[in-house]
Symmetry: C2
Subunit: 209 residues, 2 copies
DNA sequence: TGTACATCAGTGAACGCGCGTTCACTGATGTAC
DNA sequence: TGTACATCAGTGAACGCGCGTTCACTGATGTAC
């Protein structure tokens, strides 16, 4: 009890955000969550909510910020992979799928938010994806790959890859975590998708280069 | 008044579905709609709802069915295009964008439903997309295009195209209908995306063929 | 280091309101002869 | 074609409940001297 009291200072905010993610992970849609519901899940009194957020939209926005951190972690890990081009695609896709499974609630929130109610949340997630595409582009440049492409064309390629893989979020999240068979099907499909895009990128001719 | 009375028979069901779509089109998320809200928008008494649907999920499911019709209409129109390969991609993408703008509410519902609360709605929409990919594959075969690809590889290509274009739903719907500049940016981007995928498809080597 | 005070974060009671759902009703439409 | 009856679809009143939000409170934490 004393312990609980002591830990409280400034911690409720995080508990509320986590509670919202938990509910989302349980199948609820963020847009249908209520303040009382979230505070109940977090184990605090409803009024506490207002100490940290103006309303549910506000909480959603702050979740998007945290989403950025999860994404950056994902990218950092992916850069530590051995850069052998032939396995690069497989490894990256597998890493992504694993990351999604390890952060189920977060990515469910992201998938929901893309077509969600709040303009600000939508824009936040879109921005996050643009950032990832941009980072991916820089990685290509660093590795001296796809040098026949102009900046804008290379960006388009990266954008396409990110979007393609992001779309599979819906499939990954619709699969129970222990259905290895179906997960492998998804992995292989996404690997093939990305390979095809890269083949297209190799064959693409930029106009001004 | 008499007119109104006379039209009622069996029409309320449609009005309720349209009311839900209208609210979705106004920026609300389907998951957060209530029965009273929908009946209010439709101009009927709350109890009427139960004459046609068990609950909001049920209404969502029936909307998915109608979504199928919209999709089929889209495909029928696209087949009437002159089949000149060089303009085929542009025409198809433009047709899709126009169709989305002309059925804003429907496609907003579809975009929301992909990551929505109801498993059944999600599966329904996924099924619809798989159907479209399959149809697209048959069209390729009919036109004797991409004959170097096995059935399963060609399906993957079509699936990738459909998903890519479907992803852009979020961008199209986030644009006000008269912002021609941004819409054109989206059109051009999607055309380039699809062209790249087709380039990749051309370069792809199927194992068993 | 100790004391006095301000700020912060969680509490519990209370409010009015809109929600989903039930029920018995009514009048229009469809069906059988 | 006309009549009698069943079914269907929309109505209006009523219910209990959970919601968002406000308020004054309390005790813990941080700050100044």
């Amino acid at each position: 009890m004393v312990e609980k009291r002591r830990r409280k200072r400034g911690e409720t905010r995080g508990q509320l955000m986590e509670a919202a993610l938990t509910l989302v992970g349980k199948g609820r849609h963020f847009a249908s969550l209520g303040i009382r519901e979230v505070t109940r899940e977090a184990g605090v009194v409803p009024t506490s909510f207002y100490r940290h957020f103006r309303n549910m939209d506000d909480l959603g926005l702050q979740l998007v910020d945290e989403l950025g951190l999860v994404m950056r972690k994902l990218m950092r890990e992916s850069r530590q992979q051995a850069p052998f081009a032939d396995k690069l695609i497989q490894d990256s896709v597998n890493l992504f799928v694993d990351h999604v499974l390890n952060n189920r609630n977060f990515f469910t929130f992201m998938a929901q938010g893309l077509a969600g109610e709040s303009r600000a949340v939508r824009d936040g997630i879109s921005g996050e994806m643009r950032f990832m595409a941009h980072e991916m582009m820089l990685d290509f440049r660093r590795m001296k790959m796809a040098e026949h492409l102009s900046d804008s064309d290379l960006y388009r390629v990266c954008e396409l890859v990110i979007r393609t893989v992001a779309f599979s979020l819906n499939d990954i999240l619709g699969t129970s975590a222990d259905d290895e068979h179906q997960l492998n099907t998804i992995r292989e499909r996404e690997i093939q998708h990305v390979k095809m895009i890269m083949l297209g990128a190799m064959a693409w001719k930029s106009e001004d280069r």
